[in-house]
Symmetry: C2
Subunit: 422 residues, 2 copies
């Protein structure tokens, strides 16, 4: 069958089934998540067996060990998914919250309240846990889910969807609210991205390449996630005792994730004291450095290895132990650099001067500004959201970590007793 037709039919089926969600109470949606958690635990051996098929193929294809690790399911990872479902069920119900309320002089009562989007698509890579994590967040926020995972996780995704659908069949929620989009070829991704009017939102989760493709090809609304070229700016008024651990933690704590820092910017006034310390500490920690001309001179003077940064370094999300270092003249110059090369994700300033912090906040133009803290704190769990479906890089709708609330939209309920416009 043509992919556009197939995806359109799955979307329509999901939308029809979604009425069982939009009319369900919070208690009913929580019960559905508990049923899913129990089913995952009860059927873990089936899930592991299916996952082993994917792992055999992955090993045969010599998949990168890090990717194999992401694909692998274990008893404790399945327990983790079940726990995740229960944690989401324990969060405050995101639906029916009153955002605004008023009564007009003519007696009309206005209430703006949260409602589901409707049908939400997810496009993601070979991480089967996303299949469950996304499904439970979308169900709890009242949305039907069209899940398009990777073909390399096909067997794992199929059993997980089947287990969740069987669990829903024991509840008031129509199992058809969950749909796995076939991953045989790329055409189903394209079909999902262009199902305008049938899919309300598509969220990509994965590599910068995947996200770029989604943004370029989509005619349905999307939320751009993930890309992070984050900076740490050490201001002239920085406390060096705070600056050094923040720089190190931002770079080396978990270099593969989007909130890791890629570039260190140092104010020229503090560079003579701070730069030698920072360069040494970073290289001691195994970080390969790319410096601007000033940094190169300092590195040379202190016998520290650093290669001259080329233009493309400044906009590269390394994901590994590499870091750019530059010296800047002012807060504004730091903001200029960030405006040119940043991705509007997380920017940190280390300073004891509130006026400089405030100016940095006003100019940084990003989802999260860290004042004297590591960039690594831009994270749904760290920020206390309880669940995260991704980190939005865009300015529309949701910015930064997205939890249950970000998966809702709003409706005005206007109640009258016959009012007309005069």
């Amino acid at each position: 069958m043509d992919s556009a037709v197939l995806v359109g039919e799955l979307a329509d089926k999901a939308r029809k089934a979604a009425r069982s969600l939009s009319t369900a109470s919070g208690t009913e949606r929580k019960a559905a998540l508990e049923a899913i958690a129990q089913a995952l635990e009860a059927r873990s051996s089936e899930i592991l067996a299916a996952n082993e098929f994917d792992m055999i193929a992955a090993r045969a294809e010599d998949m990168h060990p890090q990717m194999q690790d992401r694909l692998l399911l274990t008893d404790s990872r399945i327990a983790g998914m079940a726990d995740g479902a229960r944690q989401v069920a324990a969060l405050p119900d995101p639906l029916g919250r009153t955002l605004k309320e008023s009564t007009l002089p003519n007696g009309l009562h206005l209430r703006q309240t949260t409602v589901p989007f409707g049908v939400v698509g997810m496009v993601y890579e070979a991480r089967p846990n996303v299949t469950v994590d996304a499904a439970v967040i979308l169900l709890m926020s009242g949305n039907a889910a069209l899940l398009r995972g990777s073909s390399t996780a096909r067997n794992s995704n199929e059993i997980l969807i089947n287990v969740m659908k069987d669990a829903l069949a024991t509840t008031s929620i129509d199992p058809e609210v969950l749909q796995l989009i076939p991953s045989d070829d790329r055409s189903t991704v394209k079909a999902l991205l262009t199902a305008r009017g049938r899919v309300d939102l598509v969220i990509p989760r994965g590599s910068a390449q995947l996200i770029r493709m989604v943004v370029d090809e989509a005619t349905v609304p999307t939320i751009e996630t993930g890309a992070g070229v984050c900076h740490v700016f050490v201001d002239e008024f920085a406390d060096v005792a705070k600056a050094l651990p923040i720089v190190l933690n931002s770079k080396i704590h978990r270099p593969s994730v989007c909130n890791a820092a890629e570039t260190l910017l140092v104010h020229k006034a503090i560079a003579p004291t701070f730069l030698p310390l920072a360069l040494k500490a970073l290289t001691d920690a195994g970080v390969a450095l790319h410096g601007d001309s000033t940094v190169q001179k300092v590195a040379e003077k202190f016998g520290i290895t650093s290669t001259p940064a080329i233009e493309e370094n400044w906009s590269t999300e390394y994901g590994i132990l590499e870091m750019n270092v530059a010296v800047v003249d002012s807060v504004d110059a730091a903001a200029d650099h960030i405006a040119k090369y940043g991705t509007n994700h997380t920017e940190a300033i280390v300073t004891e001067n509130q006026a400089n912090a405030d100016r940095f906040i006003a100019l940084a133009d990003c989802a999260a500004v860290m004042i004297n803290a590591s960039t690594r704190f831009t994270d749904g769990e760290q920020m206390g959201f309880g669940a995260e479906i991704g980190i939005s890089n865009q300015k529309l709708h949701a910015r930064g970590p997205m939890g249950l609330e970000a998966m809702t939209t709003a409706t005005w309920i206007v109640t009258g007793n016959g009012q007309i416009r005069i």
Copy 2:
């Protein structure tokens, strides 16, 4: 110059100037709006003279009288624009509002606060008042404005932009935050819609055709506005004394606007009593009717003129005194019809039964649901927003009338004293 290059340069100029806005206090932005209001009043004769050039061309081209009326400026309309600027200045400052705030166990302080988008584009038709209305809303919300009006309003738009820029030159705000995009040919619209990374948001305001083009061609984020195929559903438990005025008001009060109703849905149980009354009242008011087969039988029986509705009628936004009428079996059947033909704008139910109202709310999937009130109340001014930049038809970011708040995004400000992730 190539349009993409030109628009890119104007966007960059606007973004640079926008720093004078993102670092300005609310008092400074209010002062800028007051300066604009005074300048509009002081230079009204210049504005009228420029507008007369556009009007001469419009008359020579035999422009539709209704469009000529939209293009025309008068002393009282200029006073209205100045008043509008003062009203926006009097609203609560949309920037720096705290949306969420908490302190984590590790001492990190989190505050989510409203900030400007940055550079916002508007694409609109030959209504010079939009040039001022949009500019003041965008300035007050801290955004630079790229305004792409119609070439038929070129002289009016140019003088209005010059008057506003001259006014800004007397304040702390850089006049370059306002940029008029040349309207000589369509290529500048396309350039604005694809200036990804240089323009943060584009809002179209105008015909369904314009909005469709924007949504199809844009790679920058957009907010879809305006299209309204709105329905009034008269439930079996409707109070006829409320239903009749609501139906009439929704259709005839101002048929050209997006919150006017296009289709009347009547529950079969109330149809025998309500339908003859409604059809007669509508035709008496000059409304041409398109009925389904049941409606056609009733119309024939009572000697009322109605043509059989064809498929395309149900999804047509007439904008004039025409209306579709259908009989449905239930609340769910009404919702099915709305899901198939509606535009997620405004849907009304007339009923005295709360359970039916609640089910309609859960299924209507739109920006505003009216319970026993006219569809005409979906309006920023009516709803008490004080200013409106358009009515969003989409589910991302803003739904329904958009005021100052909808022109902001959010940033997390995370303040620590050296915290790192462990």
